[in-house]
């Protein structure tokens, strides 16, 4: 886990007198007081090369005097080092919008969830809730089930007079629900109208593939300015995480980015294994199975992206071809894990069950034919002049934009930044398999399309090597870790009993849509104290308003599809 070493910051320490560096195996943190925060961040960004913004949030300690501890996670792409900057605050923070635009959206979320005020923020509005919502839900003093203040009986009762007693006795009092006026105010606060017409694109629109509400300020066909209202799919996963046991939270990870459930499960499981420091206890077979399954899931998710992307640009048949292959993948995953979409197959310490008979033969048969199919679609699309006209030189993201907007995953690789967690911080079996990272150069929609196609081929290579390794292993090789002494470290297959010592960690996995990171702060016990989830597609989406300036609405679809956002992961 390449965290920055303490000695690198010696020169910084004498420049900032209040700075102290805390180095742990799971995390390297710089503690600074609020006044000098912006200078430190600027120094880290310009002089020390920590250009890529990863995440920013706040931990709430209701009993301590400066109540909130804010943390900023930065990454140095060239020397592959990560650092966390921490500071204490009562509720006021300087905005880092000038340093990183991604900070603007992260700060909106902190304001929405914790009520932290940011001076210098251009338009501080709530990220997910509606403007007229009075509470700050993620604070510790906000109850898990919320304040049930509104009388909202279920329709079955009102219209048909069912008596819903017994197990299904839903209480009639309900937490506040947004009315049309609330949404009206949210829309007005979000975008000041400058041009002719404000076109509402969303929240329910076939083109957005998810409940994102885009506001386009149109001048004729040209978009003058654009902004996004999120939160239609906000289920408060981070609040739930604080009330679920470590193993049981696995179920919520595959509901976030519902198209790559296995990759998100793997990321969560690896994060907790690193926190418990039992990565070498996990048997090799379990690591190979988890890697192979998450690569299958990556192809699965890229196929859905390709299908809907071609569908939006008019090539309806590619949608059906991509879903034909996706159906095969779903069959394989269903045969191995038992579920098609919400797969909670990995466990902290291994996987739930061994591979069934015939699994490796089926995967080999699939791998043999898939590159041929990919080649066929490329002949239909890649060098088609209409496809080129719609995609080349559209929505160009430069290298600086990648750092400024905190972009990760295929979106960053499309612009030439080779940022891939599987190579930079290999987890599970990624260090034993060799594969390439596809990188584009211009950073337009066409490069991201080529990068994702190449990524599918690389996944095929990884799966091949995993299948070869798994075939050599004996049939009864263990697939779940035996803890050295069960009294001290109980590793159950089901959901109960896992005790995690004090500590905090930030670990991330490479999802098909970007880096899915988990910042886990645990104060011992069975439940985490605070889990901040770093959503890959939310920060990829925050570059969308900049890409859409001065473009035609018809491009809105192509650029959005190239960023490939999934609303479950954005709204959490």
């Amino acid at each position: 886990m390449p965290w920055a070493k303490a000695e690198e910051f010696v020169e910084l320490k004498n420049r900032f007198e209040g700075l102290e560096v805390e180095e742990k195996p799971t995390l390297t943190a710089l503690h600074v007081d609020k006044g000098r925060l912006i200078e430190l961040l600027k120094a880290l960004k310009e002089e020390f090369g920590y250009k890529l913004f990863i995440d920013h949030s706040v931990i709430d300690f209701p009993d301590k005097d400066p109540r909130f501890q804010a943390f900023y996670i930065l990454y140095n792409v060239d020397e592959r080092k990560r650092v966390v900057v921490k500071t204490w605050t009562r509720g006021e923070l300087p905005s880092i919008e000038k340093l990183w635009f991604a900070g603007k959206w992260a700060e909106r979320e902190c304001y929405d969830m914790f009520g932290i005020r940011y001076e210098g923020h251009e338009n501080l509005v709530r990220a997910f809730m509606w403007e007229t919502y009075q509470y700050y839900p993620l604070r510790k003093d906000f109850p898990l089930e919320g304040y049930a203040t509104e009388y909202l009986p279920s329709l079955n009762e009102v219209l048909w007079g069912d008596n819903l007693q017994g197990l299904m006795n839903y209480d009639r009092m309900h937490t506040p629900v947004p009315t049309l006026e609330d949404l009206e105010i949210t829309e007005k606060r979000r975008l000041q109208k400058k041009a002719q017409i404000v076109l509402n694109w969303g929240p329910l629109h076939p083109g957005t593939h998810g409940t994102m509400w885009f506001l386009f300020d149109l001048e004729g066909e040209r978009v003058v300015q654009c902004d996004v209202i999120l939160g239609q799919l906000h289920r408060g996963v981070e609040k739930l995480a604080e009330n679920e046991m470590y193993n049981q939270f696995l179920v919520y990870t595959d509901r976030m980015d519902y198209l790559s459930a296995l990759c998100s499960n793997q990321a969560w499981v690896v994060a907790i294994e690193r926190l418990l420091d039992i990565t070498d206890l996990v048997p090799e077979k379990a690591k190979y199975i988890r890697t192979m399954l998450s690569e299958l899931q990556r192809i699965n998710s890229h196929l859905l992206w390709l299908g809907t992307y071609a569908l939006d640009l008019g090539a309806l048949t590619i949608f059906l071809y991509a879903f034909k292959e996706r159906e095969k993948l779903m069959d394989i995953i269903e045969g191995i894990t038992g579920a098609r979409l919400t797969i909670s197959f990995p466990r902290i310490g291994g996987v739930r069950m061994d591979l069934p008979e015939g699994a490796l033969e089926v995967i080999k048969a699939f791998i043999k034919r898939f590159p041929k199919e990919l080649k066929e679609w490329e002949t239909i699309l890649s060098r088609n002049r209409i496809w080129l006209r719609r995609n080349v030189d559209v929505g160009i993201i430069t290298k600086e934009d990648v750092y400024y907007y905190g972009l990760t995953g295929p979106v960053a690789r499309g612009s030439g930044v080779p940022y891939d967690i599987r190579k930079f911080e290999p987890y599970d079996a990624y260090e034993w398999v060799e594969f390439d990272i596809p990188v584009g150069e211009k950073g337009d929609v066409y490069d991201r399309y080529l990068v994702r196609l190449e990524e599918m081929r690389q996944s095929i290579r990884i799966i091949e090597q995993c299948v070869k390794a798994l075939e050599k292993m004996p049939k009864d090789a263990p697939f779940f870790a035996e803890s050295p002494d069960p009294k001290k470290l109980k590793l159950p297959l089901d959901g109960i009993g896992l005790k995690v010592p004090e500590g905090e960690i930030y670990s991330s996995g490479e999802n098909p849509r970007g880096e899915l990171g988990f910042y886990v702060y645990s104060t011992g016990g069975v439940k985490p104290y605070r889990v901040k989830i770093r959503p890959g597609s939310m920060y990829n989406l925050c570059v969308y308003p900049k890409l859409m300036k001065d473009r035609v609405i018809a491009d809105a679809v192509a650029i959005l599809a190239s960023l490939d956002p999934v609303v479950g992961e954005i709204d959490r």
Binding site: D331, E357, G358, E361, P438, E454
Partner: protein
Amino acid sequence: MVKKVFEKPLSWLERILFLDFIRGLSITIRHAFRRTITTHYPYEKLTPPKRFRGFFGHKVVNGKEPQPAFDEWVERFKIKVEPGRSRCVVCMLCKRACPVPQLFEIEGEKLPDGRRRVSVFNMNMMLCTFCGFCVDACPVDCLFQSDIHETASYTRKDAVLNLELLERIGRDWQARREDEPDRIWIDDAQRQKLWYENDLKLPEVRR
């Protein structure tokens, strides 16, 4: 380690003679004359694999219990074992393992001869995430997930599995698929409709 992605641009000859369209069209016409791969759902149905995580069921006492564990738990909780009825020992482990414990409603009843028996076992399937933690937690392999996936219902009451329904699913499952080998799927004609182009031959099952 880093692979540049590149596609050569269209030459002017290709632009004049529309070669890119012709290549694309030739692929679609080839697909047009191949066999269709879809299963006609209400009339043809796919049989899910044995490991499918569908609706729950209670396995019935039929002598095939996991022996050392079953007797131990029966003794510890002094459960009255009746062949043909659910194996449940009312140990509440499934309720503790579940991320959403409110969906379980389990009560045991004291029989006159001092032993106990499960009387109420309701599962509200509208709250369930089908994650299977409870199946792993069950010490006597009583709770399991069958392959029933057509679970739509008109009222919320139908979404609740009571003990009698669970046992019925369990009996049907034990009769139908208990001794099937743990294969990835059953290689029937419906599967071949999709997989015929991969010329897939699953190895014969070693009984």
